[in-house]
C-alpha cells in the first residue's frame, strides 16, 4: 500500500488503492488500484459487467468501497456523501443521460454552478436585490461553457426535446460548469453516430485544453479510446488486468482474451 503511494508522484490527482466492493455475495471490485495523473485522459475499459461503472460509483460516493482507500489530491474521500465529493472538485456524467427534465438546457447547465451559489428562499423572495446579481455572475461563466461546447442554438429549449447527442453535450457542459479538477465521463459516446462521436471527441479535448481538467473516460469505442486517452486501465471481472499506454494496454494478450476469448493460433 505504501509502495503504491510512494509510486504516485506529486502530480497525482486521484489515487485508488485496493478498492473492494461487494453486492451481497458478488464481489464487483476486487482490490482495484490505479492513479490518475494531472492533465491526462485515462481510459477505463473492459467488457460489460467488469466493474467500470462500479469503480466510478465508488469514486463519486454512490457505492462507497468497503475496503481500500480513494484519495483525491491527497485527501481521503472514500465514504463521503456524493454531494460532498462533488464540492471537492470531482464531476461526472452518466452512462444514460441524467439531465433534469422540465428545465431548459440553460437551467440544466446553470445547475452545474450550484456549488458556487448560495441558494435560499429568502434570496429568491428578494430576487431583484439579492439573487439577480449572483444569477448574472454565474450566467457569464455558463455562457463561456456554452460557447466552448457550441450549445448556443438550444440554450432555451426544454432539455427533453433535443437529440441525444446534444443531451450528452449538455451533460458535459453541466459537469464542466462546476470547474472540476477531475471529470469522470461514463460512456459519453454511447448511442452516437460517427459524426456525433467525432464532435464529442473534439469537445472533450477542447475542454481539457481550455480548463486543464483531468479526466477518466469509460468508453467502449476503442477508436475513441486509442485516439484521445494517454493511458488505459483494463478491468475484467472486477480485477485490473492491464494498465499502461493505451495501445499497449489494449493489445495485451490478457485483454484480448477477456474481450474475445482465447486467441487461436491461426488468428
Amino acid at each position: 500500500m505504501t509502495q503504491q503511494q510512494a509510486a504516485a508522484g506529486p502530480d497525482t490527482v486521484l489515487e485508488c488503492d485496493g478498492v473492494c466492493r461487494w453486492f451481497g455475495g458478488l464481489q464487483a471490485l476486487k482490490g482495484i488500484s490505479l492513479s490518475v495523473r494531472q492533465g491526462e485522459i485515462l481510459g477505463l475499459v473492459g467488457p460489460n459487467g467488469s466493474g467500470k461503472t462500479t469503480l466510478v460509483n465508488a469514486i463519486t460516493g454512490f457505492y462507497p468501497p468497503q475496503e481500500g482507500s480513494i484519495r483525491f489530491l491527497g485527501e481521503p474521500i472514500q465514504g463521503l456523501k456524493p454531494h460532498r465529493i462533488a464540492r471537492q472538485g470531482i464531476a461526472r456524467t452518466f452512462q444514460n443521460v441524467a439531465l433534469f427534465k422540465g428545465l431548459s438546457v440553460l437551467d440544466n447547465i446553470l445547475l452545474g454552478r450550484h456549488i458556487f451559489m448560495r441558494p435560499s428562499s429568502l434570496a429568491s423572495l428578494f430576487y431583484w436585490w439579492w439573487a439577480q446579481r449572483e444569477e448574472v455572475k454565474h450566467r457569464l461563466r455558463v455562457e463561456e461553457i456554452i460557447d466552448l461546447l457550441q450549445l448556443e442554438g438550444v440554450r432555451d429549449e426544454p432539455v427533453e426535446v433535443i437529440p441525444l447527442g446534444l443531451q450528452k453535450r449538455v451533460e458535459l457542459a453541466r459537469a464542466l460548469c462546476a470547474e472540476p479538477r477531475f471529470l469522470v465521463l461514463d460512456e459519453p459516446m454511447a448511442g452516437m453516430n460517427q459524426e456525433e462521436k467525432e464532435y464529442m471527441v473534439r469537445f472533450i479535448l477542447d475542454a481539457r485544453d481550455a480548463m486543464g481538467v483531468t479526466m477518466l473516460l469509460i468508453e467502449h469505442h476503442m477508436d475513441v479510446v486509442t485516439a484521445i486517452c494517454n493511458r488505459a486501465v483494463v478491468l475484467n471481472n472486477g480485477e485490473k488486468i492491464a494498465e499502461g499506454p493505451t495501445r499497449e494496454a489494449i493489445n495485451d494478450p490478457a485483454v484480448v482474451t477477456a474481450y474475445i476469448g482465447k486467441m487461436q493460433d491461426a488468428a
Binding site: 460516493g61 454512490f62 462533488a86 433534469f100 422540465g102 450550484h114 448560495r118 428562499s121 429568491s124 444569477e135
Partner: protein, 357 residues
C-alpha cells in the same frame, strides 16, 4: 401575431430572465392587476367577500402546496393540517397581545417546524408511502387540536379572531380584508416565480427529477427536501392565518379536515402540478365551479326549465363537477395551466400552427 415576438431582443442577461419578457403577457397582467385592485369598487360585497376573497386565499394555499408537490416533487396529503397550525397559532398569538405582523410570522414558523418534522419522513420514503406519512400528520394535528382545550378552546369550541391591524390599517372593512389577502397572494406568487428562476428552485427540481444526479453536482438532497417542506409549510401557515383572519373570522377544527387537504391536492392537480397560473385556475375551478353549477341549475329550475325534484337539483352539480374534474385530467393531464399554455402558444405563432414542445 397577438403575442408579437418580433423585435424583442435581449441584450442583457437580466432582461432575458425577466419574469414576463413578452410585452403581450405584461399587458394582460396589467389589466388583471388593475381589475384585482379595483375589485372592491367593481364587485358587490357579496361577490368580493364570498368569491374573490376565498379564491385568492385558496390560491395562496394551492401555491404553497404546489411548491412542495410540483417543484420539489414531495406528495403532501395533509396540507389542511399545516393551514390549521398557522390559523390556531396566529389566533393565540394575537390574543396574547402579539402584533398581527409578528403573529403571521409566528404562524408560518410553527407550521414550518411541525411541517418539516413530518416532512422528515420524505427522507426515507417516496410516493404512496409519503402520502401515508403526511396523512398521519393530518390526523395527528387534527386530533391534538380537538383534544387539547388550550388550543381549540374546548370541545366543539369556536375561536373568534380578535380585531387586528396590519401596518396600522385596521382589518375590519371588507375592502381591507380583501387587500390583505391580495397582498399575501401576490407575495406568494412572486416568491414562486422567483424561486423558479433562481438557484433554489433549480435545486428543488433537480432533487425531484433525479436525486442521484442532483447529488453528483453538489446538491444535498436531504437538505433540499427538508427545505422544500419548511418553505412550503411556512407559506401554508401564513396562509392559514390569513384564512382565519380575513375569511373565516372564527375557526373550528372541522374547517381544516381531511376533505380540505384533498381539495387542495385537487386544486394543484387540476390546475397543473408546479404551475403558478395553475394554482389560480385550479383554486378557481375547485372553489367556484360547484357554486356556479348550483346557481345555474337552481336558476334553471326556478324558471321551470328543469322539471325535476329538489333532491336531484342538489346532486346534479356534484356529479357534473366530478365529471369535469375527470374530464380535465383526461383531456390534459398537465392540468388547466397546460390548456392555457396551449392556447397561448397557439396565439404566439398564429397564423402558423407549429410550435416546439
Amino acid at each position: 401575431m397577438f403575442y408579437r415576438l418580433s423585435g424583442i431582443k435581449h441584450t442583457r442577461y437580466v432582461s432575458a430572465r425577466a419574469l414576463w419578457p413578452i410585452p403581450a403577457d405584461r399587458r394582460i397582467l396589467y389589466v388583471l392587476g388593475a381589475l384585482a385592485l379595483l375589485a372592491p369598487v367593481l364587485l358587490s360585497d357579496l361577490y368580493l367577500t364570498s368569491y374573490m376573497l376565498p379564491w385568492l386565499i385558496w390560491t395562496a394555499a394551492a401555491l404553497s402546496l404546489t411548491l412542495l408537490m410540483g417543484m420539489a416533487g414531495q406528495l403532501h396529503f395533509g396540507f389542511a393540517a399545516v393551514l390549521a397550525i398557522g390559523a390556531y397559532t396566529s389566533i393565540h398569538l394575537t390574543r396574547a397581545g402579539v402584533p398581527f405582523e409578528l403573529a403571521l410570522l409566528g404562524a408560518g414558523l410553527s407550521s414550518a417546524v411541525i411541517g418539516s418534522a413530518f416532512g422528515a419522513a420524505a427522507l426515507r420514503v417516496k410516493g404512496l408511502y409519503l402520502v401515508m406519512a403526511t396523512l398521519s400528520m393530518q390526523y395527528l394535528v387534527e386530533w391534538v387540536i380537538v383534544n387539547v382545550p388550550a388550543i381549540s378552546g374546548g370541545a366543539q369550541a369556536t375561536l373568534n379572531t380578535p380585531d387586528v391591524r396590519f401596518l396600522f390599517v385596521p382589518l375590519q372593512s371588507d375592502a381591507s380584508l380583501y387587500y390583505m389577502a391580495l397582498l399575501w397572494t401576490v407575495v406568494v406568487t412572486l416568491l414562486l416565480l422567483n424561486i423558479r428562476r433562481s438557484s433554489f428552485g433549480r435545486a428543488l427540481v433537480a432533487v425531484r427529477d433525479k436525486d442521484f444526479a442532483a447529488a453528483v453536482i453538489g446538491v444535498n438532497p436531504v437538505r433540499f427536501k427538508l427545505l422544500a417542506f419548511f418553505v412550503s409549510s411556512f407559506l401554508g401557515g401564513v396562509t392559514g392565518a390569513i384564512l382565519a383572519f380575513c375569511y373565516y373570522q372564527a375557526v373550528t377544527p372541522e374547517q381544516f379536515g381531511f376533505n380540505v387537504s384533498i381539495q387542495l391536492v385537487a386544486m394543484v392537480l387540476v390546475g397543473g402540478l408546479g404551475s403558478v397560473i395553475g394554482a389560480y385556475l385550479g383554486a378557481g375551478f375547485v372553489l367556484l365551479l360547484p357554486i356556479l353549477l348550483t346557481n345555474l341549475l337552481a336558476g334553471a329550475a326556478q324558471i321551470d326549465w328543469l322539471p325535476i325534484s329538489f333532491n336531484l337539483i342538489a346532486h346534479i352539480p356534484l356529479m357534473v363537477y366530478g365529471a369535469l374534474i375527470i374530464g380535465v385530467i383526461l383531456f390534459e393531464p398537465l392540468g388547466l395551466a397546460k390548456i392555457y399554455d396551449n392556447l397561448r402558444k397557439y396565439f404566439l405563432v398564429w397564423p402558423f400552427r407549429h410550435t416546439q414542445s
